[in-house]
C-alpha cells in the first residue's frame, strides 16, 4: 500500500505550497502540488484605469515586482500604441536584470543551498565545507552573498527609485533619469558585484567562466584548486557526488517569451518553443485549465484574454488555487533552463545532451544566466546617454487590448488586458510558477513538478531531501502563482 506523505508547509520558497507524495517502497508514485491561498488580484483589476496596472500588478510579487511592472507596461504600450526612447529600453533592462540577478543569487544561497547541508550527505568529502558555507541564515557564504546583494541593489535605487514596487517603468519610457553622478556610481556598484562573483562565487574572472562552452571544459575548469574551492566549484562537486545530475527530469518542452527588448526591435534573450526542435512561440496556443483548481467556469480551459477567475473553495476534486497553463495542451517548463536552451547557450546545450534535464542542469542554467546577465548589464549601463530623452508622452487613449510578455527570474510571465471604454474590462496574469507548479488539467495530466517527482527514489521517507532538491530547483514562487 502506498503511503501518503504531505510536506505542508513546503517553505523556503516564495509563498505557500503544500506537496503531497504517494510513496511505496521508497518510490514516489505520484505527487500533488497545491497553491493553498487565493489572493484575487485579477478581480481587483476590473473597472480600473489601465495605468493602474503599473501600481497594482507589481504587488503580486515581492521578489519579482519589476517583472510584473515590465509585463504591465508592455501590455499598456500595445494598448496605447506607445513607443519608448532608447534610454528607456536600457533602463528597463537594468531594472529587470538586477531583479533577476538578485533573485537567482538569493535563490542559490538562501533557498536552495541549505538543503545541501542535510545530514544525508555527511559521508561526502565536501560535507564540512558545505555546512560551513551554506547553513541556512548563518553559513559564511550566505552572509557574504546577502551583503553583496544589499550593496548591488543600490543600483536599483539609482535606476528605479525604490524596490520592491518601483513605478519607474512606463509604457513610453522611464520616469527615472540618470546623470553623470548616478551613472558613475552605478558602474562602480556593478563592478563591486562582479568582484564578488569572481572572488567568492567563481574563483576566476567572469569572462573565463562565460567562455566555458562544454561540460568537459567545465570539469576541466574544476580541476584548478581555486576554481573547485569557489562556491560554484564546491556546488559542482556536490552535484556530481550527490547525484543531482540524475534526478528532477522535467517535461523537456520549454518556452521562453523572450526578454530584454532592445531599441533595434530584437531581444537579448530570444523567444521560442523547444520540444527537441526549435519552433516559433505563439501566445495564441496558451490556455489555462481549471480541472483541478478551485475555480468555477462553464468551460474547462480558456485563452488568458478571455480568462475567468471565479473562486470556488469547495470544488470537489480540486486541490490548488493555481490554474494550470498548457501550451497547445501540453505541460511546459519555463525558467532559466528554458531560456538558456532557447538562447542556445553552448554550455547548457551541451549539459542537456550529456545529462538531460535534472536538478543540476536547472541550477546551472540559473547560475549561468546570473553571470551572463551581470556581464550584459555593464553594456546596457554604458549605452545610457543622459543627454537623450528617457520618456516621451504617450497617447491617453487605449484603443486596443494589451498583451505584455516578458521573462521574470522564474520564467515566462504574461499579462493579458482587455480594455473597453478606456477602462480595464478583464485582466489575466499567467505567472512562471503557474506553468511549473501547476496541478493536473482536466485531462488528468500532472504539472511539470508533479511529473518530475513521479518515479523518483527517496532514501528516507521521513526526510525526502530528493523532493526538496527537485522542487527548489524550479524556484517556485507561489505568491505569484496564486495571484
Amino acid at each position: 500500500m502506498p503511503t501518503l506523505i504531505a510536506i505542508d508547509p513546503f517553505n523556503r520558497i516564495e509563498g505557500d505550497l503544500r506537496i503531497e507524495i504517494e510513496v511505496e517502497e521508497n518510490t514516489v508514485h505520484s505527487a500533488k502540488s497545491s497553491g493553498i491561498m487565493f489572493r484575487g488580484f485579477e478581480r481587483i483589476m476590473s473597472g480600473r484605469s489601465p495605468l493602474d496596472a503599473l501600481v497594482i500588478t507589481p504587488r503580486i510579487c515581492g521578489i519579482c515586482s519589476g517583472s510584473h511592472g515590465v509585463a504591465a507596461a508592455k501590455a499598456l504600450a500595445v494598448a496605447q500604441g506607445a513607443e519608448m526612447p532608447d534610454n528607456g529600453f536600457y533602463m528597463k533592462n537594468l531594472i529587470l536584470g538586477i531583479e533577476v540577478v538578485m533573485s537567482h543569487l538569493s535563490h542559490f544561497y538562501l533557498l536552495f543551498a541549505p538543503d545541501l547541508t542535510n545530514k544525508r550527505y555527511s559521508n561526502l568529502s565536501t560535507y564540512d565545507t558545505v555546512k560551513h558555507r551554506f547553513t541556512a541564515m548563518s553559513g559564511s557564504s550566505v552572509v557574504l552573498a546577502l551583503k553583496a546583494r544589499q550593496s548591488a541593489l543600490e543600483i536599483m535605487g539609482l535606476v528605479g527609485g525604490k524596490w520592491p514596487n518601483s513605478l519607474a517603468i512606463h509604457p513610453s519610457g522611464t520616469t527615472s533619469t540618470m546623470n553623470l553622478s548616478t551613472l558613475t556610481r552605478a558602474i562602480g556598484i556593478l563592478k563591486e558585484f562582479h568582484d564578488f562573483l569572481e572572488k567568492r562565487f567563481l574563483g576566476c574572472p567572469l569572462n573565463e567562466w562565460l567562455d566555458i562552452d562544454s561540460f568537459d571544459k567545465l570539469l576541466k575548469w574544476k580541476g584548478n584548486n581555486t576554481h573547485s574551492d569557489s562556491d560554484l566549484g564546491l556546488f559542482l562537486t556536490m552535484c556530481l557526488d550527490a547525484g543531482l545530475d540524475r534526478i528532477g527530469k522535467g517535461p523537456n518542452r520549454y518556452i521562453s517569451y523572450g526578454a530584454y527588448d532592445l531599441p533595434n526591435g530584437t531581444t537579448w534573450l530570444p523567444a521560442g518553443y523547444f520540444d527537441g526542435r526549435m519552433h516559433p512561440f505563439d501566445q495564441a496556443l496558451i490556455k489555462e485549465h481549471i480541472g483541478s483548481s478551485f475555480f468555477r467556469d462553464a468551460v474547462e480551459a480558456r485563452h488568458p484574454l478571455d480568462g475567468v477567475t471565479t473562486p470556488l473553495a469547495d470544488k470537489s476534486g480540486a486541490y490548488s488555487w493555481a490554474k494550470a497553463p498548457r501550451y497547445d495542451g501540453k505541460t511546459i517548463e519555463v525558467g532559466p533552463l528554458a531560456r538558456m536552451i532557447i538562447a542556445d547557450d553552448p554550455l547548457l546545450t551541451d549539459m542537456m545532451r550529456q545529462m538531460d534535464s535534472s536538478v543540476m542542469t536547472r541550477m546551472f542554467a540559473r547560475l549561468r544566466e546570473m553571470c551572463r546577465l551581470t556581464n550584459e548589464m555593464s553594456g546596457w549601463l554604458e549605452k545610457i546617454n543622459p543627454s537623450e530623452p528617457f520618456y516621451v508622452s504617450p497617447s491617453s487613449r487605449f484603443s486596443s487590448n494589451g498583451i505584455g510578455l516578458t521573462e521574470a527570474a522564474r520564467g515566462s510571465l504574461g499579462h493579458w488586458m482587455k480594455i473597453s471604454s478606456n477602462l480595464i474590462d478583464n485582466y489575466q496574469v499567467v505567472t512562471p510558477s503557474a506553468w511549473n507548479m501547476s496541478p493536473r488539467d482536466e485531462n488528468g495530466q500532472p504539472g511539470p513538478v508533479e511529473q518530475a517527482l513521479a518515479g523518483i527514489h527517496v532514501a528516507d521517507v521521513n526526510d525526502p531531501v530528493e523532493v526538496n532538491h527537485i522542487i527548489r530547483s524550479f524556484d517556485p514562487c507561489m505568491s505569484c502563482t496564486v495571484h
Binding site: 517553505n11 503599473l54 515581492g62 527609485g161 520592491p164
Partner: protein, 321 residues
C-alpha cells in the same frame, strides 16, 4: 533571548525582501544584536512540513514563549467569511493567527496589508481581506478594537508597500528595549517616529514645489504634485529623508509620484495615481494641514515669483542652468 515568529498571510513576500535590504544592522545581524531567536520564518528557515507544526504546537501549548509575532500580508477572510481562501494545514490561517496572538508578548503588522488590508482590499474588498487589527481606517480587522498583546500594547502597525527595512528593525528595537509606549503610536497605531513626517519632507523637488514649477510629463525635474499625481504632501512617512536601498533613492527621486502606500486607505483612495485631480485649478490633494485659502493665495504668489532657472529646469529632464 527573545523568540520571534514571522508569518505570511495573503502576502507577496515583499516585506521580507525589503527587510533583507536592511543595512545597519543587516537583517541577519539584527537578530544577533537584538538577541532574537528566530523560531521560524517561511522564507529563511530550514524547517519545513511537520517540523514547522511542532514549533507551532509548542508555542500554542505554552512550552515555547512567543515574544514577538510579526505578520506580513493580509488576512484572508473569504469566501463568505469562512477563511477558506487560505487553509494552512486544513485549518483557516486566520484561526492559527488568532491563537498565536493570544500567546504573543508583542504583535507587529509589517507592511500595509498586515496593518490595514492593503492592496488586496482593492475593488471594494471583493476578496474579503483585512489587516490584523484594522481594515482600512477602522478597527475592524481580525483581532478587533480591544485586542492588546501580553505586554499591553495593541498591534503595532509598520505599513508601507513594502515597509522600509529601517522601520521594521527600529520598531523591533523599540519594542524589545521596552521603549515603545502607547503615546508613541498614532491613531492608526503606527510609530509616530516614522509616520508623523510626510514623504514630501526632504524631497529634492521641494524648491519646485515652493514656486509651483511643475513637471508636465515624467522624467522632468519639476514638482510632480500639480499635474502628475504626487501624494507626497499627504503621505505619512519619512521616505525622502530616510531614502531607500543604501540611501540611493525614493519614489520621487525615481521620478514617479508618491502614491501614499503607508495610508490605511491604500490602494483605492489614492486614485488617480498618475494625474492630479483638481477642482478648478486647485488640486484636491492639498498638503494635510495647510488651509485651502492660504494654499491658493500662496501658490498664486509663488508662481509669479518663480525664477526663470526653475521654470526651465522644471520641464527638462536634465539640468539646464
Amino acid at each position: 533571548m527573545h523568540n520571534l515568529l514571522w508569518l505570511q498571510g495573503a502576502s507577496c513576500g515583499g516585506d521580507t525582501i525589503s527587510f533583507l535590504n536592511s543595512e545597519q544592522p543587516s537583517a541577519l545581524s539584527s537578530f544577533d544584536v537584538l538577541n532574537i531567536n528566530l523560531l521560524w520564518h517561511p522564507f529563511l528557515s530550514r524547517e519545513q512540513g511537520d517540523a514547522v507544526l511542532n514549533i507551532f504546537e509548542s508555542i500554542l501549548a505554552g512550552r515555547t514563549k512567543l515574544d514577538i509575532l510579526i505578520l506580513e500580508g493580509a488576512i484572508p477572510n473569504g469566501p463568505d467569511n469562512t477563511g477558506k481562501f487560505f487553509m494552512f494545514h486544513n485549518r483557516p490561517f486566520r484561526e492559527w493567527l488568532a491563537d498565536f496572538c493570544k500567546h504573543a508578548g508583542m504583535v507587529m503588522a509589517v507592511g500595509t496589508c498586515a496593518a490595514f488590508g492593503g492592496v488586496v482590499t482593492g475593488h471594494e474588498n471583493i476578496n474579503e481581506m483585512s489587516g490584523l487589527q484594522f481594515l482600512h481606517n477602522q478597527k475592524s480587522g481580525l483581532l478587533g478594537a480591544d485586542y492588546v498583546s501580553k505586554n499591553g500594547l495593541p498591534v503595532v502597525n509598520v505599513p508601507g508597500c513594502p515597509s522600509h527595512p529601517d522601520w521594521i528593525v527600529e520598531t523591533m528595537t523599540a519594542v524589545l528595549k521596552g521603549w515603545l509606549k502607547m503615546e508613541d503610536l498614532d491613531e492608526f497605531h503606527r510609530p509616530k517616529v516614522f509616520f508623523s513626517k510626510l514623504a514630501h519632507h526632504g524631497c529634492p523637488r521641494n524648491e519646485y514645489y515652493e514656486f509651483k514649477a511643475s513637471a508636465i510629463r515624467y522624467s522632468q525635474q519639476g514638482c510632480l504634485f500639480e499635474f502628475l499625481g504626487c501624494k507626497g504632501t499627504l503621505c505619512e512617512s519619512d521616505c525622502n529623508e530616510r531614502l531607500w536601498l543604501g540611501r540611493t533613492g525614493s519614489c520621487t527621486r525615481g521620478g514617479f509620484p508618491c502614491i501614499a502606500c503607508t495610508s490605511p486607505l491604500f490602494p483605492d483612495r489614492q486614485r488617480p495615481y498618475f494625474s492630479t485631480r483638481k477642482i478648478g485649478d486647485v488640486p484636491v490633494t492639498l498638503p494635510l494641514d495647510v488651509p485651502k485659502a492660504w494654499f491658493v493665495g500662496i501658490s498664486g504668489m509663488s508662481k509669479l515669483a518663480c525664477p526663470e532657472r526653475l521654470k526651465k529646469n522644471a520641464v527638462s529632464s536634465k539640468w539646464i542652468s
